[in-house]
Each structure stands twice: as structure tokens, then as C-alpha cells.
């Protein structure tokens, strides 16, 4: 009859299904735009007790319907994020529902709301993906200078200890802020005790502005953003590893985009549902013209009809067309429709902060000369291939 092995144990990841042209392999859901922390650098935290926001949020039934549809379309992973997803009173119900639908769950959390009961739940019904915890400092002072909530450091410690005690797989990430940037070594040494880390923690450091374009809060974010030089110093702490990774990256991903504004995979094989049922191509892009209202539509319609239409949008901004369209650093540079939306309220305006970061890195890598503008470089293919071939000298 058939082959001898019937049950193959595999850690099947959603990427396995991407080549099969699944409409959706992973779905992000922001369960709340609210957060119990008040981080200075955050692009999305409304106050935990924001009643107006709470009232507008998707109901439990609406979230379940979205999950059901995602599963029917072949989705394998749902990522619950926020704001702080654990703020929702129905988190447990939604989580169990997702798992009972056969979804793996990724959870992005600050860990402050992980209770013994929740840890027990994650033990009994494992998420099947590592929980991702962001930590804002190694000490009460540095942590709470970022979160601006007294007691949040102890709460995060409690949550993390519960995960460790119960052996619930998780990883930690950092956000590099003026208050904690001297603690990197301590953070990385501590992260090594977490059995599921595998590699050093990732950091957010070139912060995004507010996703709903809040001018006052943007000023705060700009103040805590690392400069391009500071960022480079951190990126190149392990110089040879950085250069090795950049060679692979640049050979594969950087090139002038012409008038295409989406060079990324936004809206392909997934998307992000915001707390109010608006379906976005990715977690960041909230320009009102690019979001789809799931309250009067379906994931399928958005993925089949709406997103492809948005992805075809071409740049019309003259500055973008004369700069980014011809710039071979696109890819290394984080310029994209979402960043343009956050900074300028458009889809195609160059963002100077990310432009400077990309140019600083490119100068370090020898891709451009001092004072050279990447969009003026014609022989970019040769520059990339020379860089890829060059030996690394420490």
C-alpha cells in the first residue's frame, strides 16, 4: 500500500505554503490600540482606559469571524499584537478560539499582564510560536523612563519569570532609548539565560512616528530616535558579522525601484487587521486610501481585489521620482509608503531620517563616497558586486 511513514513531525512554518500561492498564510491582528504602558517612543499606544477607543474595538464575535475566515483561506499563523493585546478582557477566549481553529498564535506583549492563570493556559494550550516580549530597560529607572508607568518594571519581571518558570517558549526584544542604550551588554548577557533565544535580541532603534500622525507625540519620538551615526555604531558592534549579512542582503534586495512604491511584500499572503476592523496591507500602513473595512467586506475580497489594486499605485511625487525612484539604496533604506504616510501623510515622499540612515550605512560599506548621493550613482550594479566580492578587514 502506501509509504511506511504516515505521521511526519515537522515544524511547519507558514512560509512552506507561500509558494503555493495561498491567499493568506499569516494574519496580524491588533487586538487593541491601547496599552497599559505609555512608552515615549511608541507609534501606537493609546491610554489603557481610552473609552472611545475601547468602544470602537472589534467585538469578540467579530474577531472570531475574521479568524474563521482566515482559517478557511488556509491561514496557519495569527499574530496578536497591539497596543497591548493582553489588555482585552476576552483575550483568553479569543486565544483558545484561534488555537482550536488550528492556528498557531504569535503573541507580541510587554509581559506586564501575564498572570499565573495565563501562564497556565499557555502551558496547557501552547501557542506553538515563541511569545515575543519587548523589554525597555534592565533596571527600574531605565525601564520606567521609557514606559512612564510606575510599577511597570516589576510587572514585566513578574511576567517574564512566570514564562521562565512554566517553560513557555519566548524571546525578548529591546528598544534602544537614551535611558537604556548603555545597557546593551547587560541586556544581551541576561538574554542568554533564556533557553529559546537562539540569537542575540533584536532592537527597535530607528523609531517610526505615530501611526495616526499625532504631531505632539511625534516630537517626543523624534527626540529619542538614534542619529544615523549612533545607529551605525550599534549595527557594527560586530563588524564582520554586519558586513557579511549586508553583503547577502545587498546582493539580493537593493536596487532602484523606479516609480513602483511597493518593493516589499505588503498585502501579499497576509495583512494586518487594526483594532477597529480596518484591514491594512501591513502593520504600519494606515493611509486611509489603503485600508479596507472588514466590517463591510471580507478578507478574501481585500486580498483578491483591494490589496492588488493598492500595490499597483505608482509614485507621482516629483521629488520621489527624481530621488528614490533612481536610488539603488532602496531596500537598505526603509523608505516605503508606510513611512511616507507616517512622516508626511502621503505615500511617496522621501523621508529624510531614513535617507540619512541609509546613506550613512552605504558610506560605511563603501557603496558610496563621502558627499555622494545614492540616486546620482549610475554604476550601482558594479558597486554592489565589488562590495560583495571585497574581503572584510576587521
Amino acid at each position: 500500500m502506501g509509504k511506511q511513514f504516515y505521521v511526519q513531525t515537522k515544524n511547519i512554518r507558514e512560509s512552506r505554503f507561500i509558494h503555493k500561492k495561498l491567499l493568506i498564510s499569516r494574519l496580524d491582528i491588533e487586538l487593541a490600540e491601547r496599552c497599559n504602558n505609555n512608552c515615549i517612543h511608541c507609534y501606537i499606544n493609546l491610554p489603557a482606559d481610552d473609552l472611545l477607543a475601547k468602544e470602537k474595538e472589534l467585538s469578540t464575535a467579530e474577531i472570531k469571524n475574521i479568524l474563521k475566515e482566515a482559517v478557511s483561506l488556509g491561514c496557519l499563523v495569527v499574530r496578536f499584537t497591539g497596543g497591548e493585546p493582553l489588555l482585552r478582557k476576552d483575550f483568553e477566549e479569543v486565544y483558545i478560539f484561534a488555537r482550536r481553529c488550528g492556528l498557531k498564535v504569535m503573541l507580541f506583549t510587554n509581559a506586564t499582564l501575564i498572570t499565573p492563570h495565563l501562564a497556565e493556559l499557555f502551558c496547557h494550550i501552547p501557542p506553538l510560536e515563541k511569545i515575543e516580549v519587548t523589554l525597555y530597560g534592565m533596571k527600574k529607572d531605565s525601564y520606567e523612563a521609557a514606559t512612564r508607568v510606575s510599577g511597570s518594571f516589576e510587572a514585566a519581571q513578574r511576567g517574564i519569570n512566570l514564562l521562565l518558570e512554566k517553560k513557555i517558549p519566548f524571546v525578548v526584544k529591546g528598544a534602544l532609548l537614551p535611558s537604556n542604550k548603555e545597557e546593551i551588554d547587560e541586556f544581551e548577557a541576561w538574554a542568554k539565560i533564556i533557553p529559546w533565544m537562539g540569537k542575540p535580541p533584536a532592537y527597535a532603534m530607528f523609531f517610526d512616528l505615530r501611526c495616526r500622525r499625532d504631531v505632539r507625540k511625534n516630537e517626543l519620538i523624534k527626540k529619542v530616535r538614534l542619529s544615523a551615526d549612533e545607529g551605525l555604531k550599534i549595527l557594527t558592534r560586530n563588524k564582520s558579522r554586519y558586513i557579511k549579512e549586508m553583503k547577502i542582503f545587498c546582493a539580493k534586495f537593493i536596487r532602484p525601484p523606479k516609480d513602483k512604491i511597493f518593493s516589499c511584500g505588503a498585502g501579499c499572503g497576509g495583512g494586518c487587521v487594526d483594532a477597529y476592523g480596518k484591514f491594512q496591507l501591513c502593520m504600519m500602513l494606515r493611509h486611509p486610501d489603503t485600508v479596507y473595512n472588514l466590517r463591510c467586506g471580507s478578507l478574501k475580497d481585500a486580498l483578491e481585489n483591494f490589496f492588488p489594486k493598492i500595490r499597483k499605485i505608482k509614485a507621482t511625487n516629483r521629488e520621489y521620482l527624481s530621488r528614490c525612484a533612481n536610488c539603488f539604496l532602496k531596500g537598505l533604506c526603509e523608505q516605503c509608503p508606510a513611512k511616507s504616510w507616517e512622516e508626511h501623510g502621503t505615500l511617496d515622499t522621501p523621508v529624510e531620517y531614513f535617507c540619512e540612515i541609509a546613506h550613512t550605512q552605504a558610506r560605511f560599506l563603501g557603496l558610496i563616497e563621502k558627499d555622494e548621493k545614492a540616486w546620482e550613482v549610475n554604476n550601482w550594479k558594479k558597486r554592489i558586486s565589488d562590495f560583495v566580492k571585497r574581503d572584510v578587514i576587521n
Binding site: 500500500m1 502506501g2 504516515y6 515544524n11 481553529c101 506553538l128
Partner: protein
């Protein structure tokens, strides 16, 4: 738990596993912990495994399933019975199926 599997036994999918067909790939997603060897693993069944899984409905004996398959597959009843006993053991050891009727 070691189990002596008998062709007159009846099995059904465990409620702690969700079977899904994602574009022709048949996978079993564990819901509770303790299914399989590693907690973050998803399992896939090949075509034969899938057919047998789908026939384990909590009503048919393994022998009845073997009989049904003998009509479809070009193999002897005995070969099919051996295959079914093999997969049943594997699935049961992984807690993916449960006995529908307790053994006497």
C-alpha cells in the same frame, strides 16, 4: 502508554488535535500540550495516512476500515490491516486519536 491494538477496536480523532487541509497538504495541529514529541510541532499525514485518519470516525472498527480500503487499493487485506495497525499505533502514541470504546 503502550497499547495492544486490535483490529476490532474503534478509534476517533482526539479533540485536542485539529486536522486541516492547506492546499492539499493534510496537517494535524495540536491544541493541547503533550501531543507528539515537541510542543511546537505540526504533523503532516501522507495520502494513505489521511485516508485512514478520515475513516477513523469513532464508529468503524479498524477491520471495517481495512475492508473499505481493500476495495480501493491494490493490496491484500492482510497488508492493509498491517498498515492500519501501524498508523493507529503511531497516532495513538502521539495522543492524536482516542479509543472510541474502552477495551474490555
Amino acid at each position: 502508554m503502550e497499547l495492544k491494538i486490535n483490529l476490532d477496536d474503534i478509534y476517533a480523532p482526539s479533540e485536542d488535535v485539529v486536522a486541516r487541509d492547506i492546499q492539499g497538504e493534510f496537517i494535524l495541529v495540536p491544541v493541547t500540550s503533550g501531543i507528539g514529541d515537541l510542543e511546537d510541532e505540526i504533523f503532516s499525514l501522507n495520502e494513505t495516512g489521511r485516508v485512514i485518519w478520515e475513516k477513523m470516525d469513532g464508529k468503524k472498527t479498524l477491520r471495517a476500515i481495512a475492508k473499505e480500503l481493500a476495495y480501493v487499493y491494490a493490496a491484500s487485506q492482510k497488508e492493509i490491516e498491517e498498515d492500519i495497525l501501524g498508523i493507529t499505533k503511531e497516532l495513538f502514541n502521539r495522543k492524536m486519536i482516542v479509543e472510541a470504546k474502552p477495551k474490555k
